[in-house]
Symmetry: C2
């Protein structure tokens, strides 16, 4: 009997959990990703704000699966999936045949039909995204230092984060700290109180997925860091040198997008039904309707919980789904997925966080400590944990952001921003 | 009396030493660089071979000079120097007036007139260079893993370093370790003994600046790491998929250039006489002939020692020259520069190095320990020292290279290499 070939596309939290869940199964696992590294996305905003180095939150997929002998890793971009022939086609024309397929290709930013905004308001989903945002933020500070016109200097010192979910809140808090505290002694012309950070949200409150009480605490905490929160106001326009919100024009050269996501084109590859965000409407066992061979998990899948609410696009959902699919493949039967919700966390700046664990709701310093511990614990790879822990301690004690490198792109003075 | 304005162009070892040397002087220092960070270039090959992260060998210039109140830092590209008006012109049209000018703009690679080779054989002088080389090397391994044709696979597993100075020797040793040891357990199709590393040198021996005896030891050590050393053979051709040397064609997709350097265009800016490598022929006091206001130091300057040998392009020369220029500016007199040679170091792989300190010549493990200590000691910034020390220890103990990220550039499978 030949071994079943399980192909997993995407080495995020979901895909990796599926691969690991099959470690002892008599199957051949092929994990395909277009990056060579698994990325710990919840900490990506720290790379974008120069607190951590890329290598500290990313580990080569090969190293993670080094000792799993039934798994091989393929670096490649999916061009399409042939359901009849049971093959994944890669862009370099490689063909990977499967008996079971797990699609875990995640999501990208969505600009709600305004793709022209992408140029001025980059999001952060990949390492390259994060270093580009870091470059943008640090260059704005450099330009502010040499700019002599007060209005133009103020524009360089104005930072706007669009979207007040956990990423947006964390990002705004981190930028406020970077611009106000960490760099204050390094510049001669600009002073900490010159900078302005805006957090713009279309909905009525920040952290909409959290209980209202924690939302309010989070808002108070970021406002205390000096962030101006504009809720109930969808952004109206984004250009190279300003945004418009609530009928008001805010001059800025550094806008960061943390508002919407759009699933990867997996639904198109599979010709499957999708929701508005492009997520595949999966069965309760995470199977793609019309086949028993293909599963979709994580940000690629849309599934409602027992209360009819769509499961959020967070790491725990993807991980549990990956594990669940592995179990079904091993047991060769269909089992409905149930999400075990351990709670929600978001951090705000140096020593504040909010945690929602159902009955247990925390905010403030204790929540922040819990947040740190949880993130370091979940980081893949022992070396990264150690290193991130050391960096945080160092940043915390010194207010110093060590990874403040402007890299990539053309030479700085040729930049438009 | 107005304070003298000292403008320093370039924040490498020389420029930074000059700025720091003026810390207590009653002058206004402006340090101009096109990067926001000072780079510890001697360890750049470790970034290129995934041993260290960029932020571990680079520190923001602003942070380094944070407490030096008479210094300001300007991020900018020099467009030209107007000697009559005593002004440095930047590309963004900013004009920086000077009373004294120190030119410390370093060097770039030189392809000896074959600039078409640059595309296929990148050198490593900047962080972006190093991450590009890292990308090239890691992608070659990825392609080898999926390639089924044996000859083409071998080409992906063949790495060529051109130039056997310290950088070339260190690079070849590090690639041999990366390809043979660090990644061996991570891949399924390729095995450690498949890979080939060539070190190509036009001169008769490796490490030409070292005594012959140490050269021989270094050669033996890198050969023991599995590197094939081809001395006395200038490279004849470099193309996308091969190089030609000694009439023989070697198929490869990863060529790294460590052969020649060319000074920055400072001589042209100043309309000063230069040697073949573009270095300004300075006076014994490091002044540019025809003026008492301008100095050139480090890789930008050509100066012979008392034996008539041109001073090498290494960090200690640049540092001592920077300090020397600062002293002359403070004392307002011309003092001939004398290089104090503390010795030469080069490392080969995990626990070998050669050290030449005149009468004291070391090789092997003790030399390697000395090399590590010296490099960690000279790293700018305490945090970096700690972090690099920890990384090295970790890499040493585990054979693991933690910074193996493929970043930047288009999606991997669209790549030609």
């Amino acid at each position: 009997m030949t071994r079943e070939r399980v192909v997993i596309v995407g080495a995020g939290f979901g895909g990796l959990a599926a691969a690991r869940g099959l470690a002892r199964a008599p199957v051949d696992v092929t994990l395909i990703d277009r990056c060579n590294h698994h990325l710990f996305q919840p900490l990506l905003y720290q790379v974008a704000t120069a607190g951590l180095s890329p290598a500290e939150i990313a580990a080569p997929i090969r190293s993670i699966l080094r000792d799993q002998k039934n798994a091989r890793v393929v670096l490649g971009n999916v061009a399409g999936i042939d359901r009849d022939a049971r093959q994944v086609r890669l862009e370099d024309a490689t063909v990977v045949p499967y008996d079971r397929l797990v699609v875990a290709t995640g999501a990208r930013h969505s600009y709600f039909g305004r793709d022209d905004w992408a140029r001025f308001a980059p999001g952060i989903k990949t390492i390259d995204d994060a270093t580009a945002v870091r470059r943008k933020v640090l260059l704005a500070l450099e330009h502010a230092e040499t700019e002599t016109d007060p209005a133009r200097r103020q524009a360089f010192l104005t930072f706007v984060v669009i979207g007040a979910g956990p990423t947006g809140v964390e990002m705004a808090g981190a930028i406020a700290e970077l611009a106000r505290r960490s760099v204050s002694r390094d510049f001669r012309s600009i002073t900490p109180h010159c900078s302005r950070v805006y957090l713009v949200e279309a909905a009525e409150r920040v952290l909409g997925a959290f209980p209202e009480q924690l939302s309010q605490k989070a808002r108070a905490a970021i406002e205390q860091l000096g962030v101006t929160v504009l809720t109930g106001n969808p952004v109206e326009a984004i250009a190279e040198d300003h945004i418009r919100v609530a009928g008001r024009e805010i001059p800025t050269h550094a806008v960061i997008w943390a508002a919407g996501v759009q699933a990867s084109p997996a639904a198109r590859w599979l010709d499957a039904e999708a929701d508005r965000s492009g997520r595949i409407l999966v069965r309760r066992d995470l199977g793609v309707p019309g086949t028993s061979r293909i599963y979709a998990i994580g940000d690629t899948a849309a599934l409602a919980d027992e209360h009819g609410r769509c499961l959020p696009g967070v790491a725990p959902v993807a991980k549990q789904q990956g594990k669940h699919v592995a179990r079904q493949i091993i047991e060769r039967r269909s089992i409905p997925f149930r999400y075990r919700d351990w709670g929600n966390l978001a951090t705000i700046g140096r020593h504040r966080a909010v945690i929602d664990m159902g009955r247990l709701r925390l905010s403030g310093a204790l929540a922040w400590l819990l947040w740190c511990t949880a993130h370091i614990f979940f980081l893949v790879g022992f070396r990264n944990r150690l290193s991130v822990g050391a960096c945080w301690l160092w940043n915390y004690l010194t207010f110093h952001r060590g990874a403040r490198l402007i890299t990539g792109g053309p030479t700085p003075t040729n930049q438009g921003e």
